[in-house]
Symmetry: C2
Subunit: 205 residues, 2 copies
DNA sequence: ATCTTTCCGTACCGATTGGTACGAATAAGG
DNA sequence: CCTTATTCGTACCAATCGGTACGGAAAGAT
């Protein structure tokens, strides 16, 4: 959908680097709340005129959506990789806890969760992507838990669907707290506590 | 601080009803995200001119702060009452779960938690109040847990401070999900799961 | 050289934001 | 009556928002 590769034939050569603009946008959405980052600000940060940006992305909605796609491919993919790693229940949960509470990339929060939290402020394209990603995440969590249950690794009470949603929200909560400057050690402690419901005895200091 | 009662002496009699304006403001902040409610909108809803509102509250910050105070006295007090009820661990946790997942007043979320989530968008007065209230809530949770521990009602592992923060955040998460239209039954299920860490065996259907 | 095509960015648009200048309105005191 | 005090609301302000009209610049085609 993004005008990545346009034929370089006749007219004035294009100087706008869409990928660089997206890098700037992702960085901006990452550091601040996406709702607080204006198109003007991104143009200034990227050293690009506003019409150029609109020519490349159509609208603010198009830009945020493209930025979310970049972020998804660059960061969220790692989370999906953790869930599909095929390791056991607790190694995977530990990896999730590490990611949420210690990964330096989550120091200022997660673009996706920030967008999800302010869903009503997004344009239709971006909102649709957010919902797709949320569904995909939920599916990945559910598949992971289903596998753990079938392998006898998890014998807990709650149904898979509810547990998947629970897992998703707890990770989101941890990362959101990360964005608000909470002490990572505290976050690890709380997330560990929240996820301890997945095994009878799971104490962490 | 709010100009509640001014002497009715000389000049033109005041027609602005500050309490009614605050009622309107609280209702607006309650239904939508406070960051999405403009002063203009509140003036229109309350049938009040903008200068009148600014005369009464000084600034948008003053208005949101006053509205938060009203909300606090009217709603948050109930949560503090639950925590200070002196009942046991689980009756109190059940009451919190009921409040978060079933109380009709939380159907569109909690003004306080909405403001806390968008803290950076608030003026200094309102932000200070939010932080005060957050500290007060944390203290109330901690006091409650300390009492439960001393009475032998709670023998869990995590230290009181961490558990208080955990409780606070889990309730906040539940209410926030409430605001985003999640099924209350699902929320109850998840919050129950999250709080089940406070007792060895606490299954709820 | 001229035409055509494509992209560039200045300079604008209307809408909305929080906030206010200022004169009319309405009371009491003299 | 006139003055003084207080509140009223119309009509404005500058800043910012997302978005665009438009003329110039830079290339290939003829």
């Amino acid at each position: 959908m993004t005008d990545t590769e346009s034929r370089a034939g006749r007219g004035r050569p294009r100087t706008l680097d869409a990928e660089q603009v997206l890098d700037v946008a992702v960085a901006a959405y990452w550091k601040d709340d996406p709702a607080d980052v204006s198109v003007n600000a991104i143009c200034q940060l990227a050293g690009v005129s506003k019409p150029s940006l609109y020519r490349a992305f159509g609208s603010e909605d198009g830009l945020t959506r493209a930025a979310l796609d970049v972020y998804s491919a660059r960061v969220l993919s790692d989370v999906f990789a953790i869930l599909q790693g095929g390791r056991g229940l607790w190694p995977t949960l530990e990896a999730l806890i590490d990611f949420a509470s210690a990964d330096p990339r989550m120091e200022t929060g997660c673009v996706f969760y920030k967008m999800r939290a302010g869903k009503h402020r997004l344009g239709p394209l971006t909102r649709a992507r957010v919902e797709e990603l949320d569904q995909a995440a939920l599916g990945a969590y559910a598949a992971f838990l289903r596998a753990c249950r079938e392998s006898g690794d998890w014998t807990g009470g709650p149904p898979v669907e509810a547990a998947a949603k629970y897992l998703n929200e707890q990770v989101a909560l941890a990362i959101t707290q990360r964005a608000s400057g909470e002490d990572p050690a505290r976050i690890r402690e709380m997330l560990g506590l929240a996820l301890s419901v997945f095994s009878g005895a799971a104490d962490r200091s």
